[in-house]
Amino acid sequence: MNGHLPEWFRVPYDETSVTQMNDTLQSFQLNTVCTEADCPNLGECWHRHTATFMILGKYCTRNCRFCSVPHGKPEIPDVNEPSHIADAVQALGLHHVVITQVTRDDLADGGASQFAACIRAIRNLSEDVTIEVLISDMKGDHTALDTVMEAGPDIIGHNLETVPSLYAAVRPQAIYSRSLDVLAHVKECSPKILTKTGIMVGLGETKEEVLQTMEDARANGCDIFTIGQYLRPGKSNIEMKEYVPPAEFEEYRKAALQKGFRYVASGPLVRSSYHAEEALL
């Protein structure tokens, strides 16, 4: 192990599976957050034939300081994207699909209609697939959120990302209360859709702040909670403050379950959609 990485940061890498998945994704002209955000779990997840599709282009209209997805001029939404994703889901034989997005503040509905089209296209081809969408805050637009809900995903996720005291440093274009409102609105209007949120730790938060954030999420009806270690993607991103040890992640997991979340994923390499299908088992 090298001089600075803790010994628990090991991931498998299977070149054959990665190449096959990459070829399939390229043939359908699809992006994944796995590659665009340089996820360390790519090797493992693609070996298990799971991937998180990223819709609405490669360029994000926000500039969150923890994220490596490039900020830039957004692309015109691809009308063929929903059918491409549905075809890829079928070709890959996926049982659980996760779809996320670059934030599209330039679109009137934040991309909600594209999510809805993707969900419907997948349902049309693959009846038994469970669908999870990880959405932006859609600028708090309830009508946009309704559009996503009406398409009938199984899980709607929206990440709080960090504790409220760090929002200015980590997520300057987001509002903590607005993100909580996203979760609350979905649960109020579509109680059968599971809601999910996730945060990163290792950014300088206190344990008390993490526990309070869990409380806030539960108070707004959130069903599923994920916690993972923040890893700095590049020099332009915010610095990591500490490696949180596995024992502390286990404490967080137990605390979250005690607070009533039906499923909790907590560990150094956990990401929002890591082993996402397990929440529905």
Binding site: M1, N2, L5, V11, P12, E15, T35, P40, G234, L269
Partner: protein, 83 residues
């Protein structure tokens, strides 16, 4: 038959990788899925797995070397070849 195991591109921006540790030595038997070597990045240690069974005939680099993406890191003589 020989199978060349190349330095993978672990991220979209990766141009080269640090060969952290060998987990298989020359002339050792390799089963598909065994970890051959480790690549260290700022984020994780990736354990590169063997895509086939056979025996490791050659290590092309030493621990601590920086290897360009796409370069051959080691060679496996796949099953069916003379040892």
């Amino acid at each position: 038959m020989q199978k060349e195991i190349k330095m993978p591109r672990l991220s979209s921006s990766m141009k080269e990788g640090l060969l952290g540790a060998w987990r298989i030595q020359p002339r050792e038997r390799v089963q598909k899925g065994d970890v051959l070597f480790e690549i260290e990045t700022d984020k994780v240690v990736s354990e590169v797995e063997a895509p086939c069974s056979g025996w490791l005939s050659r290590q092309c680099f030493e621990e601590g070397d920086m290897v360009d993406v796409g370069e051959t890191v080691c060679i496996i003589e796949t099953d069916g070849e003379d040892a």
